[in-house]
Structures are given as C-alpha cells and as structure tokens.
Amino acid sequence: MANLKTKVMGIEFKNPILAASGTFGFGEEYSQIYDISILGGICSKGLTLNPKQGNKGTRLWETPMGLINSIGLQNPGVDIFIKEELPKMKSFNTIIIANLGGNTEEEYLEGISKLNNTDVDLIELNISCPNVKSGGMAFGVKSDIAHKIVSKVKKNCNKPLMVKLSPNAENISEMAIACEAAGADSISLINTVKAMAIDIKKRKPVFDNIYAGLSGPCVKPIALRMVHEVVKSVNIPVCGLGGIMSSRDVIEFIMVGATLVQIGTSNFIKPDIAVDIIDGVSEFMDIEGINSLDEIRGII
C-alpha cells in the first residue's frame, strides 16, 4: 500500500490531506461520523483574539457547483479555543493547525502570543477573509501590507507559520514572494473568491455585506492555476485548496506542486468524504506504481 506520509516544516503528517478551516469546526462533530485521526491534520475554525458573533442576515447561498458564505468569522475567540477546544482537538491524534484571523496588527500579535504557549502544531495565518468589514482581506490584497504583517507575526511566533492567501490578491505570485520574504514557512491558497448574489424578488443583494466568499468545485480551476503559479514563484511548501471534491482533484493539486492539500466545502456535501479521498489517493498510487507523492509532485 502506498505511503502517504509527508514531512514538511519539521512536522510529520500521516498524509497530505487536511480539513480546511471553517468547514470542520473544531473536529468534534465529524469525529462522531468517522475516525478523524485518519486525516493529515485539522485546521481550526477561523479564530480571532476576541469572540465574534459573525454577520447578520443570510449567511449561505448555493450557486451552480458553488457555495457563497458570509459567516463573518463567528468564533469563540482564542482564549476559549485554547481552554475548551484545543484539548479535545489534541485527542484526535492528528496535526492541529490554529487558523488565526484579525482586524488589526495588534489583534494578530496578541493572538499569536497566546497560541505560542499551546500544543498547537502549526499556525495558519488568515489574511484573506472577505467576510469581515474592516481588516481581514485588506491584509491579503497588497503585497507590501502582507509583507509587513507577516514579518511582525513571524518575529513573534514560535510555531511554524503557514500564510493563507486570497485569490483576490492583486498579484498572487508577488503576494506569495512577499510572504516568503517576510518569513512564512509555507503558503496555503486559495481562500474564498469575492462574490455576490442577488435576490431578485427582494431586488437587493442576498448578503448584508453585499459581497461574500465563493467556494466549492466551481473555484477549483482558479485555485489550481494559482497554486501552479505560486509553486513556481517560491521555495517554501505550498498547501493547495479550493473546490477539492475527489482523490483525482488532490492528485491534480499535487501534480502542480502542492505539498499539502485541504478539503473544504466538500465536507458539507458528503461529511465522510475525506475517507473516500484518502483511500482514492492511495489506490491511485498503487495502480500507477507510485511509491511516494514526491514522484509526481510538481511534474506540471
């Protein structure tokens, strides 16, 4: 049977398949459906320093093969995560990644300082959420601003740091290069694509914030192209995500150079989809006579 172990940033992952932030809670619900220790890792729900109630009004809208969300980072805050959620997450016997967002530099730095003293294995820095009015994605659009915030966070962070990029960045390769130069240990992309939906009966936008974030299989070709571009631009590992629905999608991301991948929206579509995906990757490798994903990583 194929070996899916992946060592990256000094961390050994059982396999390169992680659950994406915002689609897996803190793992507890999914642990009632299947043995989530099979996952390479779990990215926590997006955290902010203080608890956040999230956005008002409609929060979800389905499009052809896509999902637009405007949750607005509803979360219990870093302190409650550390006290109540992290101990449970650690019991799941997989790599735990804390996804940290923020509105201001101070919020990011204080969040990092609290997470430094925990058992979190890795921090994913969210500079790309389109669903909060201030901050959020503002850090993830311009490379010089991203460089500034990532540099400060990295100086104060004693965990490996993965920076999650927005597809809405002015230039995705420049953005990745800026994050690498700022000390990021890896890059993950893409976060949701800024999108919009209209309720024609009410004659107004569906979402109170007008714009919201699109995910799901419809964004996969964009994500794949961006991962391909970024992999060729930086020397740090890249974690690919965006619309992964199958083991075939995972192989495609690996072939364009991703070291890790994340499963997001498809967790909602088939809650135990990670089982199929991990089995499918293994089966593909066996059939194709591939011993390690290194053999196909970045071949395109």
């Binding site: 619900e29 979800l60 949750i71 509803q74 909602f268």
Partner: protein, 240 residues
Amino acid sequence: MKVQKGIIIENKCISDNIYKLSVEYQGKIIPGQFFMLKTLDNSFLLPRPISVNDVNEKSINFLYRIEGIGTTKISTLKKNDKLQLFGPLGNGFEEDKLNGQIAVIGGGIGIAPLLYLTKILGKKADVYLGYKEKVYIDDEFKKYANSTTIVTEDGSIGEKGFVTDYVDFCKYDTVVTCGPEIMMNKIVDKCKENKVKCYVSLERRMACGMGVCLGCTVETIYGNKKACKDGPVFSSEEII
C-alpha cells in the same frame, strides 16, 4: 448520525409540488429531527435538510415541496433508486416537555414534522392544519390526533381563512408549531399573551446540518444558536 445510502421505497407526488418520499431505514428518531438528503450525482451541490414526516418499523417518510434544483432532482428519484441519507440530525421535540392540553399547529409544508410528533403523542393533541387551497395527509393526522381542524385560505376544504383564527389559545398549556414565519410569529405572540408554553420548529438555509458551517444562525437570548444542532426546535421564549 451517519452517512449512508438509502434505498427508495416510494417517491410520489401527493399534491401540487408536494412529494412523499419513503426510504428504507432502521434506527431511533426523535420527532422534529431531520436528515440531509442528496442525489448521488453531482447535479446540485449541498444536501437538502428535510424533516422526518413519519417513522415506521423499517422505513422513514419525508414530505417535501419542490422549491429549487435540489428538491426537483430528488423528486425524479424512483423506487429502488438510492440517495445519500445523512442523519438523524438536530434536536427535536422533547416529549416530556409537552404537557397538559396540547395544540399542534402546522401551516403548508410545515405540517411535515408534526405528523410523527402527533403519532408519538398518541391522541393527546388537538391538531390545526392550515393550507393555501389543496389539502394533504390530513387523513393521517386524523388517525393520531384528539381532534383535527382543517383550514384553507379560500375555504374550499374545511374552515376558511388562516389557521391561527381557529385556535382558542387560552384552552392550551402547550403549543407546538411549524410553518410559514408569519404564521409562527402570530402564534408566538398569542402564546405569550395567553401565557402558553410554545415550541417552534424553524427552517433555515444550512450547508453541513450538524453545527459546523454556522450558516443557519438563530438569534436567541443566549446568543447565536444553530438551527441544525441546537434546533430546529426551540422554545419560543429564547428566540429574539
């Protein structure tokens, strides 16, 4: 709760755009719980939350109205076809909290989860069903209810007008309701006025169905709750 493939026993249109779906299933279900249903192809993305209408020894029934692409596709499934069945999900009606004289009030497709509840209550509840014009599954309610009042907007069958006009709220200790928001709001107000305990089953857009995506938020006096996991049944006192 688990993800499984359910084999369809029957999927038939019983009224305008209203379908009754029976699926092979064995397991404990609390009235008011729901399943996430999806066809096995990728013709639409998210599973659709559909409440349990009735439970038999080896099957469950769902009652759904065609609203969009998801329910349209589900309506094309035939006997022996399979569909993705994920559940049972949510907190349903807690039987031990339904005390004294009980009124069960449903409107439109909102009557769906109330049939199994009425059956479990065993002739204890007075049932009030409001329809626009065409009436469906009223006979099944009659089997299990203490009394059944049918109301149509045009009066073509049963009483004429809105179902809320035919309930004497001061007669009851507990009211249970599911249906259009405008109807439920009126019922909640009437219950408050008459100091009657009221439980509502809410409908929200949801993606995961189990408390992860945070898409189906319900604002309560205790902060944001999730319709899928904390509900869909809530005490009316806690909803803002």
